[in-house]
């Protein structure tokens, strides 16, 4: 039986300072992240001891140097928030890793809360910049000049499922799912075939099938093996092939369908072999075909379109779920998946309020038509970039949303609440509540641990190796009986 798909997203944002010819991304990121103020968040360390980005899921360790910043740098670059998220500086980008959730709908709420947190800190940071300079943030994946930054997803998996199986069944799924997950891009880059517009922001950057790297020679399937949980029981699939999505509907479908397919892999429910002849080539072919009609080659000689490949997965999902006790969200995800694939087969433009790449394309085409512009026009490239702008009054996605042209999944109120409230169904609840209640006594945090500095005692690290434990149901009583951090530590040791 498949395990519960605890999941999250890790978004790196584009950053620039308009009006500053000497713009430095790293110091701008540090300014941005520190401009976001929560009580005590300024003094808590990120616990790098628990990190191991060099472990490979295929069962070996890769040589390399593990990054461990000094204490001052650590605090300046890392903020753990009371909603259970990590907001930090990753290389030259601000990154928001949302707290662990158990449903696709919660993921939408928390990823969206992340956008608002970055926008709030952007406004604060701007107040500190010289007049005439303005910091701007973009939730996208490319500068269209060959530089890409990631929007990663993570899903908890059962370690007993062989990684070979995961690779085999996910490859055709990842190559084809972009038809409903892509965020759209004007033109191409990284030496891929020229085109006017393509489905995915990221497809041009994938150069190999399976590997550990995330920054060079990017693989379709990433093998980073950092479960951030009990290593014997779990793996955490680190998905780097996706785009940064703005559309709530797209985020919902992307996460919901991917989680379901992973459960199917765990339960041995992918019966067909859909292996592709050349996945690296296919991922670009699919991205470059906005008609969604061109077929790609399978290893067995068959040719299928990306939509047909997805229909194969949908059919297997329906078989998998028939006769099972299916929860409401999964049922809804499957229904919408079917609707979207049917639209893609008829006319992708039907999805102009649902799927990011179609929303953006429809907006750009309308503009081009009225203004008699072609694809090379700077305004067209500007529209592409500005779709992802985090400013509510300037971002074109938000404009569509305001006008009722973006199908919503979450409500504004619950997104606003998620800025300061952790999800209740995972250990993120315990992490967030500890920060809220005992912030001044928290010494360090990682996904699977939290350590306290109380009285004159040595630092006490509490391990959270079970992502589903530490939920509200699990720890509410404990927290209620622990007025101080010292009480909490005492109660946990009792």
């Amino acid at each position: 039986m498949a395990i519960s798909k605890v999941m999250g997203s890790e978004i790196e944002y584009g950053i620039t300072v308009k009006g500053d010819p000497d713009f430095d991304p790293i110091s701008s990121c540090v300014l941005l992240v520190n401009a976001y103020r929560e009580d005590h968040a300024g003094e808590i360390l990120w616990d790098y001891e628990q990190e191991n980005p060099l472990a490979d899921a295929r069962g070996f360790m890769v040589d390399g140097e593990k990054y461990t910043p000094n204490q001052q740098e650590n605090i300046a670059r890392n903020k753990t928030l009371v909603n259970g998220a990590r907001y930090y500086v990753d290389h030259a980008h601000p990154e928001y890793s949302c707290p662990e959730v158990t449903t696709a709908r919660e993921l939408v709420v928390h990823e969206k809360a992340g956008e608002r947190i970055l926008e709030a800190s952007r406004r604060e940071a701007n107040a500190l910049l010289p007049a005439g300079s303005q910091m701007l943030l973009y939730k996208n994946n490319s500068d269209r000049k060959g530089n890409s930054y990631g929007a990663h997803e993570n899903y908890l998996m059962d370690r007993r499922t062989s990684f070979k199986q995961v690779v085999e069944h996910l490859m055709p799924f990842f190559v084809s799912r972009q038809v409903y997950c892509g965020a759209g891009k004007v033109g191409s880059e990284n030496r891929s075939q020229p085109c006017d517009y393509q489905i995915s922001q990221r497809a041009d950057f994938f150069e190999t099938e399976v590997a550990l790297d995330t920054m060079v020679k990017r693989p379709i399937i990433n093998t980073r093996d950092e479960p951030h949980a009990n290593r014997e029981k779990y793996r955490r699939l680190h998905v780097i092939v996706g785009d940064a999505n703005l559309s709530e509907f797209t985020i919902y479908l992307r996460s919901g369908v991917t989680a379901l397919v992973l459960s199917m892999i765990e339960d041995g429910a992918i019966k067909k072999t859909l292996a592709l002849r050349d996945p690296v080539r296919a991922i670009k072919e699919v991205s470059h075909d906005t008609s969604c009609r061109k077929a790609i080659a399978l290893e067995n000689g068959q040719k299928l379109t990306a939509v047909q490949l997805q229909l194969e997965y949908l059919e297997m999902a329906q078989q998998y779920l028939s006769g099972r006790d299916v929860d409401d969200e999964t049922r809804d995800v499957v229904e919408k998946w079917g609707e979207v694939l049917a639209s893609l087969e008829r006319d992708p433009m039907e999805l102009a309020s649902r799927i990011d790449w179609v929303m953006k394309l429809s907006l750009i085409e309308s503009f081009m038509e009225r203004k008699s512009l072609d694809w090379d026009a700077p305004q067209v490239q500007m529209l592409d970039l500005q779709y992802h702008d985090l400013r509510p009054d300037k971002g074109l996605y938000y404009m569509l949303e305001r006008q009722g042209r973006a199908e919503r999944v979450a409500g504004d109120e619950e997104i606003a609440a998620a800025i300061t409230k952790p999800p209740e169904g995972t250990r993120a609840y315990f992490r967030g509540e500890c920060l809220r209640r005992y912030g001044s006594a928290v010494f360090g945090v990682n996904w699977d641990s939290i350590s306290f500095n109380v009285d004159d005692e040595p630092i006490r690290r509490i391990m959270m190796e079970e992502p589903l434990k530490g939920s509200r149901a699990h720890v509410e009583e404990l927290l209620k009986n622990s007025p101080t951090a010292a009480d909490l530590v005492k109660n946990l040791r009792a």
């Binding site: 498949a2 395990i3 519960s4 790196e12 620039t16 990753d90 290389h91 980008h93 158990t102 709908r105 919660e106 000049k145 530089n147 890409s148 930054y149 990631g150 379901l260 459960s263 949908l314 329906q318 929860d327 409401d328 999964t330 499957v334 229904e335 079917g338 609707e339 049917a342 639209s343 006319d347 039907e350 999805l351 309020s353 907006l363 309308s366 503009f367 038509e369 009225r370 203004k371 700077p378 305004q379 490239q381 970039l385 300037k394 074109l396 404009m399 305001r402 006008q403 009722g404 042209r405 199908e407 919503r408 999944v409 979450a410 409500g411 109120e413 619950e414 998620a418 209740e424 939920s471």
Partner: protein, 88 residues
């Protein structure tokens, strides 16, 4: 045992309708059917979606004026200057 994805909802809210009521101008979502995904998308539902798509395209023209107001000035320079260091 859990079934696939847990049933917990966010916060202390109950299951809400999928399309939040936050925006009253929002387009009506396609009617939810009880059955599996394979029956949706054809027939009535599909036609509705097609009409909706067409309508959206027409309405998009009205949007161009608003885009005009918010689009960054000096697009050419702006786009040229947007250079990022590679990330993950």
């Amino acid at each position: 045992m859990e079934v696939l994805i847990g049933k917990k909802t966010c916060g202390d809210t109950e299951l809400r309708p999928l399309y939040g009521a936050a925006d009253s101008t929002q387009k009506k979502a396609p009617t939810k059917k009880g059955g599996d995904g394979d029956e949706s998308g054809d027939g009535e539902g599909g036609q509705k979606l097609a009409e909706k798509g067409k309508q959206l395209k027409e309405e998009m023209d009205a949007l161009v004026d608003e885009i005009d107001e918010v689009l960054e000035e000096n697009a050419e320079e702006f786009v040229k200057n947007y250079v990022q260091r590679g990330g993950q």
